[in-house]
């Protein structure tokens, strides 16, 4: 089996995990009619808090719990501003991103005095890779053995959780009463209101779910993928997730494919650093880096298909008196 391909796909899976959590978070929020460009900020604060809590309390699970709480607090700030006070959703999202960026560095320096980083996490303070059962048995099968050993086994638990969460999101959004109402409130909040349901409560619920998912995504970045928090470590993952959400047209499985595509590009980018390809020359990695953003712009412009957002997204719902 081609080792280069296996390694790249393996890295793709690791890169896609935070994207999946964040884009599913965005899916709930935007499907309910609330634009969420604060995914990045929520993941960043979650990453910081998870690393801080894991380091202080010595357990990644406590880190994960703290991260979820922190991210949910930010999600509720977004809700308070945009749902309760009908504020501009973009402005609120920008505020959340900037506050998260500043707070993580300020609190990091004040608490740990290491220039804004958290202490490096020991192995029992972070999520480690798990070897799935049966690796040594399946190993005897030629190609399948390699794939199972290298690609499927050997990730940490949050990677598997991310893969499980997508069907769950699909089920919740398309097969439950809550999901139906969620979609309705993002398309036509007035109808939902007329049916006697609270638009505000539904949107708060959606944001809360988003907060939980961003919390897990952030914790993955700091306590599973890496072993400490460093300045601005989410590095735009929240925005790539937003791009994936749009690229995937707000549908769980298509969004998942977009996450895989963008992570594959990222994995490729790492492996093509200063590699000279015969006949083409050195590919500037910056070009690959920009591809997800360029693709999203092209899609939004309607040159490859059309991405139609939920109808009521971005508009605060003002109940008539």
């Amino acid at each position: 089996m081609n080792e280069f391909l296996l390694n790249t796909l393996d890295a793709t899976l690791r890169y896609s995990t935070p994207l999946i959590f964040a884009s599913m978070a965005g899916l709930f929020s935007e499907r309910s009619g609330v634009v969420d460009i604060g995914l990045e900020g929520k993941m960043l604060i979650a990453a910081f808090i998870s690393a801080a809590a894991a380091s202080v309390f010595g357990s990644p699970w406590i880190g994960l719990g703290a991260a979820i709480i922190a991210s949910c607090i930010f999600a509720m700030v977004h809700g308070f501003a945009t749902i309760t006070h009908k504020g501009n959703q973009i402005v609120s999202g920008v505020a959340i991103n900037i506050m998260a960026s500043g707070l993580t560095m300020v609190l990091g320096l004040a608490w740990f005095k290491q220039g804004g980083q958290t202490p490096a996490l020991a192995n029992d303070e972070r999520f480690l890779s798990i070897t799935l059962p049966g690796v040594d048995i399946i190993d005897y099968i030629p190609i399948l053995g390699d794939i199972y050993r290298e690609l499927i086994s050997g990730h940490n638990i949050l990677v598997y959780l991310a893969l499980l969460i997508v069907p769950l999101v699909w089920w919740v959004v398309y097969r439950t009463r809550f999901g139906l109402r969620l979609r309705a409130v993002g398309e036509n909040p007035k109808a939902v209101d007329t049916a006697g349901l609270s638009v505000d409560r539904l949107r708060y619920k959606a944001l809360l779910i988003g907060g939980i998912l961003c919390g897990i995504g952030g914790a993955y970045i700091a306590t599973a993928h890496n072993a400490q928090f460093t300045k601005d470590m989410t590095a735009g993952a929240g925005f790539i997730a937003l791009a994936a959400l749009i690229f995937g047209k707000w549908r769980p499985y298509t969004v998942l494919s977009a996450c895989f595509l963008f992570s594959f590009l990222k994995a490729l980018e790492d492996r093509l650093q200063s590699v000279v390809i015969p006949g083409i020359g050195e590919i500037p990695v910056q070009f690959i880096e920009a591809t997800p953003y360029i693709l999203t712009v092209i899609l939004l412009a309607g040159f490859i298909g059309r991405a139609i957002p939920p109808k009521a997204v971005g508009e605060p719902y003002i109940k008539e008196l």
Binding site: A81, V94, M99, G102, L242, Y293, V297
Partner: protein, 366 residues
């Protein structure tokens, strides 16, 4: 006072003031949280920014950037557009400056090089905004998302340019070679020295004059020209604007051009004025800061000048704090920016019902 004037006072002055005060109260809580006395912090900030000549110079130098990005955001706001791509437009504006400066021979007069490179910053900033503007107007893609994407594309582009194209020969650092001295915008302390006054050196340069000039131009443009009227009409009520013979699509593209050009001017202050070479992330944070400045300044050039000064104080004050108190990160100013955007932007009307009830109750007609 009639009810309308009272409402205007509430909207124009009291709300922004109360919102900023709330943001300050929130930052005080952050200070208490990290064991710093907020009063002591305030003293350090005030002395460090306004207490001595060099501090004032730095404060005004930072404020200059915020004037440019604040104006950029405000012009777009008036057309109902949210340009959060100031970061990318300022960054690419830097490319315009560098390409123009490095294309000229060092022996050519500053009277040609400097205006040409300022034009370069305007042009490249506008170029980076025209595509999202066009896509919004003619292809219906949302300006917010496109400008976010363009920020990241700009970042990749600039890294590529700094690493592969413009990097100084034989240097490891991803930055261009030094601009020839003929392309440097004079420092204010040099200008003052020229007319016989001696003031402490600081990065403050003639860009601040440019910032004041553009504030005036934006004011005249928005409120006293046909185009400005078209922009404001489109922002207030697109349907009515169409009825009045205005073409909103054209207005959107032109507004974004102007907005991007204004953001591009950050490069003039940073590169022509102080750094004197193209470097990575020279615009870092000013684009987003501009959003806070525009929101706080109520999208009016006068308000923006005040807000930009406040942010200049916060920026320089943040540096001073970090210097004086080892426990405080200079990024405290970033937190402050976020809080201002939250309270002056997303929560801008939080006090309004309360103020209106007490100060301008609905008058019962006879």
């Amino acid at each position: 006072m009639t009810r309308d004037t009272r409402l205007a006072w509430i909207n124009g002055l009291m709300l922004p003031l109360l919102n900023v005060l709330t943001a300050f109260a929130a930052i005080a809580i952050v200070f208490v949280f990290i064991n710093v006395d907020p009063i002591e912090a305030a003293k350090i900030v005030i002395y460090g920014t306004l207490g001595y000549e060099e501090g004032i110079g730095y404060t005004l130098y930072y404020a200059t950037n915020f004037v440019f990005t604040g104006l950029a955001v405000a012009v777009a706001f008036h057309a109902g557009l949210f340009n959060i791509g100031g970061e990318g437009q300022a960054y690419v504006g830097g490319l315009g400056v560098a390409l123009v400066v490095l294309a000229f021979d060092p022996s050519i007069s500053p009277w040609i090089v400097i205006p040409a490179s300022i034009m370069g910053s305007l042009l490249f900033g506008a170029l980076w905004a025209i595509v999202p503007g066009y896509l919004q107007a003619y292809r219906g893609s949302h300006i917010v998302i496109t400008t976010i994407m363009f920020n990241f594309i700009a970042s990749a582009l600039m890294v590529y340019m700094c690493v592969h194209v413009l990097r100084e020969v034989g240097q490891m650092n991803p930055q261009s070679k030094m601009f020839p001295e003929t392309a440097w915008l004079p420092f204010i302390h040099d200008v003052f020295a020229g007319i016989g006054y001696k003031i402490a050196p600081s990065p403050l340069n003639l860009s601040i004059v440019l910032a004041l000039l553009f504030s005036l131009l934006v004011w005249i443009f928005l409120w006293h020209t046909r185009w400005g009227y078209a922009i404001r009409a489109t922002g207030k009520n697109t349907t009515a604007a169409v009825y009045g013979g205005i073409k909103p699509k054209k207005v959107i593209v032109i507004t974004m051009c102007i907005s991007g050009a204004l953001a591009g001017l950050v490069a003039v202050n940073e590169l022509l004025g102080y750094q004197h070479r193209l470097m990575l992330d020279f615009q870092y944070g000013y684009g987003f800061g501009g959003i806070a400045v525009a929101l706080m300044g109520r999208n009016h050039p006068a308000g923006i000048l005040v807000a930009a000064l406040l942010f200049g104080i916060l920026y320089q004050g943040g540096m001073e704090l970090a210097f004086e108190l080892p426990n405080v990160s200079r990024h405290i100013v970033v937190v402050m920016q976020g809080l201002v955007i939250l309270f002056c932007g997303a929560l801008e009307y939080i006090y309004k019902p309360w103020l209106v009830r007490f100060l301008a109750p609905v008058e019962v007609s006879e």
